[in-house]
Amino acid sequence: MNTTVVAQLQRQFQDYIVSLYQQGFLDNQFSELRKLQDEGTPDFVSEVVFLFFDDCSKLINTMSTSLEQPDNVDFKQLDSGVHQLKGSSSSVGAKRVKNVCISFKECCDVQNREGCLRCLQQVDYEYKMLKTKLQELFNLEQQILQAGGTIPQVDIS
């Protein structure tokens, strides 16, 4: 095991994950999730995260279909979709997505279609962005593991 390489990678990982937190992509819940990962469930986080992204894409599709026709937008359905999304995103700690969901819900409450569309776009953008970022993070993790090191536990309150 090349300790300097590992240390470097760990440093990189740490910095990257810190930057994600700093930029508001992730919040505390994500670190809670990481805590749940152990030798019994080594891919827990990635599984949950990818499930979330799946969920996201499905929900977004459904919601965009709902919002397509300007006349009969089923705000109730939209509301439940947003609610789901909000729930999921807060479960994984996707902070930005969750925040967008909050504004999305407000738009739904006032039945603002334009607002909802905007929010939907934003949600889409955000979750895709997060996906890329997390992909990068998981790559770093893999690199560290391959170099023989351990993933550092970064706990940000």
Binding site: E32, L36, T41, L51, Q84, G87, S91, D155, I156
Partner: protein
């Protein structure tokens, strides 16, 4: 005429002459008869006389001679032939005996003579032995004198007594007229007359040391005869005696302490000698005998030794006195210091109490004031008052703490606490400031860091808070990272893996900031009380400079070390400290020890196998909750709808977590249905906990009314879930600690 046989004498008798002859013969005869008698008498009287035979012969000879003379008496007149015959016989016998005697005497007389010579010889020998005896006795006496002298000299350790005694005793033993001691002066260039036996001497009588006679004496260790006229011997008042007694001088080495090496006889290269001068009485015609000179030499040596002993003793006495003085002074100083400390402590204690009471009043009343209706200016003022008084209170505590720390009167309050929680709490406290300054703080806890430890929680928190606070305070931008790990202590080579039975470990905490950095020269000053290293500009950040000093004291109390590394100004710095903590036995039991590669995560043994049911419509959320519970060791079943939940739920499940985020009351209904299901077996009913997005009063009331045993705010952290589960299982209800 008849012819008679008488013999006519030769000559006609002259009457007078005849008479005289007659008388003389008579006396001769008597004498001749008495001599043997005398001889016999005296010989009998004496004890020894080897020649008795000669005596007999001689006696016979004398007797016969006497007889002859006696018989001669009858021949003066006409005498008969018988008489003539007897006379002739006697004469013949006498002749024979005397011839024999004469012959015998030839042998005897040389013998007698030789006896005489032998006697003379023996007499001489006896006289000689007597003389020698006398000498030996004298010597023995001298020896005795020496011993006594030595004893006298060595019986005292006082310099003056030694020297005085020496002179006195020498004077007595050797019957000296005068005895003097010359000591070298301080300069070493002169000899000063220091002691004399009889005569008074002027006080500063010196002679230069380079005199030939002195050099001669100093050059040898023997006693040297010197002239009575030499300067060192001219002590006696000239009194017209024309026959001064002989003078002898001997050197006395003056040895210093430094001359005594351990295995070395003192080298006589000391070159410091005193001179002892001894004078025989004038007009006594006495000579210095060899044994007397030897005595003097021996005494001189003894004196040298005695003097050096005296010197050593003086030295040690002086040292002892000095030490005693110092002791006394130190004692006094110590007592004064103790008094001062006590006074200070009393002062502090009193002041502390006196100061705290008004302080508390100010803080409490300001807080109360804050709660009332205030105008914005007033609020600002009150806030400032509160902040200032809090700061003041902290300052007072710091000062008091520090003084107690310095006393050594501070004790650590040990207890078991959760280390991980401690770090998080600290970060929570710092977070507001950090967020304001936009400084993200990362916490990195090593995987093998024990969770439950034994130590002083409050003080440890103080230390971490201080260090992290400093990092935040002095960083304008960048980030702060806090790392906690288990470290090996330098002094112990053994591995230091976490062993679950009450041993210790060293916690190392590294706080790295990207702030202004510190000049390496200033680093030592950091831990000094009240020293500030920052320029005036940053002084506004407050603080009394005590924080690091106190932290250092606490760290030291915890048998640890604290230091700061910095690459220089502007490059940030890292504060690192190690402290020793004990490992608590409880709850670390199930920890797997040390393969560092795979972090061992604790599973609470009390939750293993706990059957739990999770109901959540949201897949992601469901998965997260399941992961949480699985991590804690539970056996989790998941359902995604109410109906499924009702179907699956059984008495085996101990807890049911249900998500009630959806608006409406359908989810709550499920609780009622579950209650119905278990009306028969009430004790087997699982605990029902709702997972909700909010936990305000209305939600809580709703949950309670629907028969739920508790409400949890989503998302749930791992620690929180753990605590919740333990609480739940203990108390069967959870309506606090949300």
């Amino acid at each position: 005429m008849e012819v008679c046989n008488c013999i006519e004498p030769q000559w006609p008798a002259d009457e007078l002459l005849m008479k005289y002859q007659y008388i003389s013969d008579f006396f001769i005869a008597i004498a001749y008869f008495s001599i043997p008698l005398e001889l016999i008498y005296f010989v009998k009287k004496s004890a020894v006389f080897p020649y008795r035979w000669v005596l007999v012969q001689f006696g016979a000879f004398i007797v016969l001679c006497g007889a002859t003379h006696l018989i001669n008496l009858w021949t003066f007149t006409t005498h008969s032939r018988t008489v003539a015959l007897v006379m002739t016989t006697a004469k013949v016998l006498t002749a024979v005996v005397s011839c024999a005697t004469a012959l015998m005497l030839v042998h005897i007389i040389p013998d007698l003579l030789s006896v005489k010579t032998r006697e003379l010889f023996l007499k001489n020998k006896a006289a000689e032995l007597d003389r020698e005896m006398g000498l030996i006795r004298t010597q023995e006496e001298t020896g005795r004198h020496v011993r006594m002298l030595t004893h006298e000299i060595r019986s005292t350790l006082d310099r003056h007594t030694i020297l005085k005694t020496t002179l006195v005793e020498l004077g007595r033993t050797l019957a000296l007229e005068e005895c003097a001691l010359w000591m070298p002066t301080r300069t070493g260039l002169e000899l000063q007359l220091s002691y004399t036996l009889r005569h008074q001497h002027p006080v500063e009588y010196t002679v230069p040391i380079q005199l030939p006679v002195i050099n001669q004496v100093f050059g040898t260790s023997r006693a040297v005869k010197i002239s009575p006229n030499s300067p060192v011997a001219r002590l006696r008042p000239v009194s017209g005696k024309y026959m001064l007694g002989e003078v002898v001088a001997v050197r006395v080495p003056l040895l210093h302490l430094s001359n005594f090496q351990i295995n070395d006889w003192p080298e006589l290269s000391t070159k410091r000698y005193a001179l002892m001068v001894l004078m025989l009485p004038s007009d006594s015609a006495r000579q210095w005998h060899v044994h007397e000179l030897e005595l003097v030499e021996v005494v001189a040596d003894q004196v040298a030794v005695a003097l050096s002993h005296a010197a050593i003793l003086e030295e040690s006495m002086r040292a002892r006195d000095l030490l005693m003085e110092q002791n006394v002074a130190l004692d006094l100083a110590r007592r004064e210091a103790e008094t001062a400390i006590r006074a200070r402590n009393d002062f502090l204690a009193v002041m502390n109490h006196e100061m705290r009471t008004p302080m508390h009043a100010i803080i409490a009343l300001s807080s109360l004031l804050q709660e009332t209706e205030l105008t914005p200016e007033q609020r600002l003022m009150v806030e400032t008052i509160l902040k200032s008084s809090n700061l003041l209170a902290t300052l007072m505590n710091d000062v008091l703490d520090l003084s107690r720390l310095e006393d050594g009167s501070l004790q650590l309050e040990l207890g078991t606490f959760n280390l991980h929680t401690l770090f998080r709490e600290v970060l929570n406290l710092i977070k507001p400031i950090a967020v304001v300054k936009k400084l993200p703080i990362t916490l990195n806890l090593a995987p093998d860091l024990p969770e439950f430890v034994v130590g002083d929680e409050k003080r440890l928190m103080q230390i971490i808070l201080n260090i992290v606070g400093n990092a935040v305070k002095f960083s304008k931008q960048g980030s702060i990272s806090v790392a906690a790990l288990v470290t090996k202590s330098d002094t112990r080579a053994a591995d230091f893996f976490v062993v679950p039975t009450g041993s210790h470990f060293y916690l190392r905490v590294k706080v790295k900031d990207s702030g202004a950095g510190i000049n390496p020269q200033d680093i030592p000053k950091l831990f000094t009380k009240f020293a500030q290293t920052q320029s005036l500009a940053t002084r506004s950040s407050g603080g009394s400079g005590l924080g690091l000093a106190i932290s250092k004291r606490f760290v030291n109390l915890m048998e640890g070390n604290i230091w700061i590394e910095s690459d220089g100004l502007g490059k940030g710095c890292t504060a690192i400290f190690d402290v020793k903590l004990g490992i608590s036995e409880r709850s670390n039991e199930s920890k797997q020890s040390g393969i560092p590669k795979v972090p061992a995560i604790p599973r609470h043994s009390s939750f293993t196998g706990l059957k739990v049911l999770v109901m959540d419509e949201n897949g992601v959320s469901r998965m997260v909750t399941k992961g949480l519970l699985v991590h804690l060791g539970c056996e989790v079943t998941t359902v995604s709808s109410n109906e499924e939940c009702l179907r699956v739920v059984s008495h085996e499940h101990k807890v049911v977590f249900m998500d009630v985020c959806m608006p409406g009351v359908e989810n709550y209904q499920i609780a009622l249905r579950i209650h119905e299901k278990f009306t028969k077996q009430r004790h087997q009913r699982p605990l029902l906990v709702a997972l909700s997005g909010n936990t305000d009063k209305s939600t809580k009331e709703k949950c309670m009314s629907f028969g739920l045993d508790g409400v949890l705010l989503k998302p749930v952290s791992l620690d929180h879930m753990r605590d919740v589960l333990s609480d739940l299982l203990e108390r069967r209800v959870l309506y606090e600690g949300m």
